[in-house]
């Protein structure tokens, strides 16, 4: 296992190695990854690492991958990325929103290296971005949550109030309301992607508020363990979290990065890689809805699967008007759908959510 600390120790050797002449043709493509959490988080980072392993399996001897896990967002990320660059990696994946500025800075210094940044929006000639339409998955599990709640209170454990998370809260709420007009949404922000104790405390706070079905946008399985203890329902997040099925985990949103990683590494190998923005969803197989368990009645399951099919085919967009903003002002007219540009800057709740938006 390689982590930040062992890598630090060998930094000097790596610098020496990088000053050697460029690798000849036919050498391995070295690919580096930085992760925001440990690969054993059972969620977000775990899924990125599965995709890394899929790349190794697909290309075998042609590639060599390394990763640095548990890299804090901020200045440390820049150091970790620089280390990967100096170690001779020709393609680097930065897999958290908060690595954005660090990746931009390092990409500027190493124009020959191909950078890929997950969930960000800043691009350059050698820096591409990729994201998944998690909100499509949220629409499906929001529908299930709206049907399954008995207290009419559903909860959401948020990480940071960034557009990606706000899209998810809105999408889940809109679709829960559609099937259950009395549903209310409680939101708790933990200001961390990975802090099992705090995520568990957040789940406990929601349960104490009367929430009986909740979703999470954080990376550990701690909230599901809490749900199991309290006898309420939840969903797998980022990873399937199948060990908590059939209850409390009644379904899940799985991030399937492998097809994208395999495609992009293939392009890097044959020289067709170029910087672009990718935003794939259920239809592309990047967002997968995990098995809906027998704890969910058959008609609810059928309803959720019908919605999933409509989203996958492009027939239905989860943000379709008429929709109003939380303050009551108009957002989308009847039949209009939100543009990608609007969604990638989303910073408000839709009408009906009473929780205040953090400043």
């Amino acid at each position: 296992m390689i982590n930040r600390r062992t890598l630090l120790g060998s930094a000097a050797a790596l610098v020496a190695a990088s000053s050697l002449p460029a690798l000849a043709q036919g050498e391995k493509l070295k690919i580096g990854f930085i992760y925001v959490g440990p690969v054993g988080d059972g969620g977000w980072t775990f899924q990125h690492d599965l995709a890394r392993q899929a790349v190794e399996k697909e290309y075998g001897d042609k590639v060599e991958t390394t990763f640095i896990e548990s890299v804090p967002e901020g200045a440390d990320a820049e150091r970790a990325l620089t280390q990967l660059a100096l170690a001779g990696n020709k393609m680097i994946f930065a897999t958290s929103f908060g690595f954005m500025d660090a990746t931009v800075n390092v990409a500027k210094k190493f124009p020959d290296i191909k950078f890929e940044h997950a969930t960000g929006y800043k691009r350059s000639d050698n820096l591409a971005t990729y994201d998944a339409r998690f909100y499509e998955g949220r629409a499906v599990i929001g529908t299930i949550a709206g049907r399954m709640t008995k207290s009419n209170k559903i909860g959401y454990i948020g990480s940071f109030p960034i557009p990606e998370v706000i899209q998810g809260i809105n999408s889940a709420f809109i679709h829960a309301r559609k099937v259950n007009p009395n549903v209310e949404m409680k939101v708790v922000w933990v200001y961390s992607w990975f802090d099992p104790a705090k995520e568990a405390d957040a789940a406990a706070a929601l349960i104490a508020e009367g929430v009986d079905v909740f979703m999470q946008h954080t990376d550990s399985t701690a909230p599901l363990a809490k749900a199991q203890e309290a006898g309420v329902l939840g969903f797998g997040q980022a990873s399937d979290m199948a060990s908590f099925a059939p209850k409390p985990r009644i379904s899940s949103i799985v991030d399937n990065w492998a097809p994208y990683y395999i495609k992009r590494v293939g392009q890097a190998l044959d020289g067709t890689w170029k910087s672009e923005a990718t935003w794939a969803g259920i239809g592309d197989g990047e967002v997968v809805i995990g098995e809906i368990t027998e704890a969910v009645p058959a008609e609810v399951k059928a309803e959720a699967e019908a919605l999933k099919a409509k989203i996958a085919s492009g027939e239905y967009h989860p943000f379709t008007g008429p929709l109003k903003k939380q303050d009551g002002s108009d957002w989308l007219a009847d039949g209009a759908t939100a543009t990608d540009e609007e969604l990638s800057g989303l910073n408000f709740y839709v009408e009906g959510i009473t929780a205040p938006m953090p400043k």
């Binding site: 409680k186 200001y191 706070a205 508020e209 363990a225 060990s243 953090p358």
Partner: protein
């Protein structure tokens, strides 16, 4: 409407891990040793406790194993600092890094498995919460009222004088370090067995550092440690509860409250010392200094 009793119950749970770890560190520092490896010993206890509880189905055995694991890790620190006279700050930091790495490696088989249910206690609070609360007066009594506690404090205040009086400085310190390790292990195991209910790498997420800050905030007084742990646990729980209830709270401000309180306490104390209203303050006189008996 937020039920204050429900918040208090959640608070007790959130405060317990840092209460254990901070009480242990308090005894260590009172003996004149600064062990910054609390986080490493906590994560060691979290894994050992969880693994044992999972294997035996008994959370009680899990906590016993956690205390042993924490104490065992602390003995590495004791050997290095007490016999080889290494720098305590550097050694403590190394112990934290070592603990995090070691548990990440040995913890892999325990990812995704579940903990047995916790031991219930009176008033719906689990036994470890009660044990943590009882440890506060016990540590206070030991330090302030028992002869052994007096010797421990003498060793921490001035190790040369204690040595001159014939007290075994090194033995006292090793015992204190082992106690600190065991308590940190219990605190860590509370996180894995009672709060999060599973093992995840790096799961203590800085609780050990908070425990260290609380010891200073408490001015090396067990009751102060209780106040600090409640303040920290209370802020954590209350801000989450207020959010769930839909109240707009400045989360960032609340999150920094315990640290702000620590700084204010430190400023107040140094001001008091400067203007001479009290003596030397409550920092143990020999804190962090290596001891080497010349005769």
């Amino acid at each position: 409407m937020i039920d204050p009793i429900a918040v208090f119950v959640l608070l007790l749970g959130a405060a317990t891990p840092i209460l254990f770890a901070a009480l242990g560190e308090l005894v260590v520092e009172r003996a004149g040793v600064l062990n910054l490896g609390v986080e490493g010993m906590m994560i060691g206890g979290a894994l050992a406790g969880f693994a044992s509880a999972h294997a035996t189905g008994s959370p009680a055995l899990g906590f016993v194993a956690a205390a042993i694991a924490g104490a065992a890790l602390s003995m590495i620190f004791a050997a290095l600092t007490q016999f080889l006279l290494s720098n305590q700050v550097a050694t403590g930091l190394a112990l934290t890094l070592f603990g995090l790495g070691l548990t990440a490696m040995f913890g892999k088989p325990f990812e995704g498995v579940k903990a047995p249910s916790m031991m219930a206690g009176p008033f719906g609070l689990n036994l470890m919460i009660w044990l943590g609360l009882l440890a506060v007066p016990a540590v206070w009594w030991f330090l302030m009222r028992s002869r052994a506690g007096l010797i421990l404090r003498a060793v921490g205040e001035n190790h040369d004088a204690a040595h001159g009086l014939g007290y075994p400085v090194r033995k006292v310190r090793i015992a204190a370090i082992a106690f600190g390790g065991a308590m940190a292990g219990l605190g860590g195991a509370y996180i894995s067995i009672a709060t999060v209910l599973q093992w995840t790498e790096g799961m203590t997420a800085g609780a050990g550092w908070i425990a260290l800050a609380i010891v200073v905030f408490a001015q090396w007084n067990p009751w102060g440690v209780l106040a600090g742990a409640w303040l920290f646990g209370g802020v954590t729980v209350l801000q989450l509860r207020l959010q769930a209830a839909g109240v707009a709270v400045p989360v960032q401000l609340l999150s920094m409250a315990p640290y702000l309180a620590t700084i204010i306490v430190l400023v107040a104390i140094s001001a008091r010392q400067k203007f001479g209203r009290s003596g030397a303050g409550s920092t143990p006189g020999s804190l962090g200094q290596p001891f080497h008996a010349l005769r």
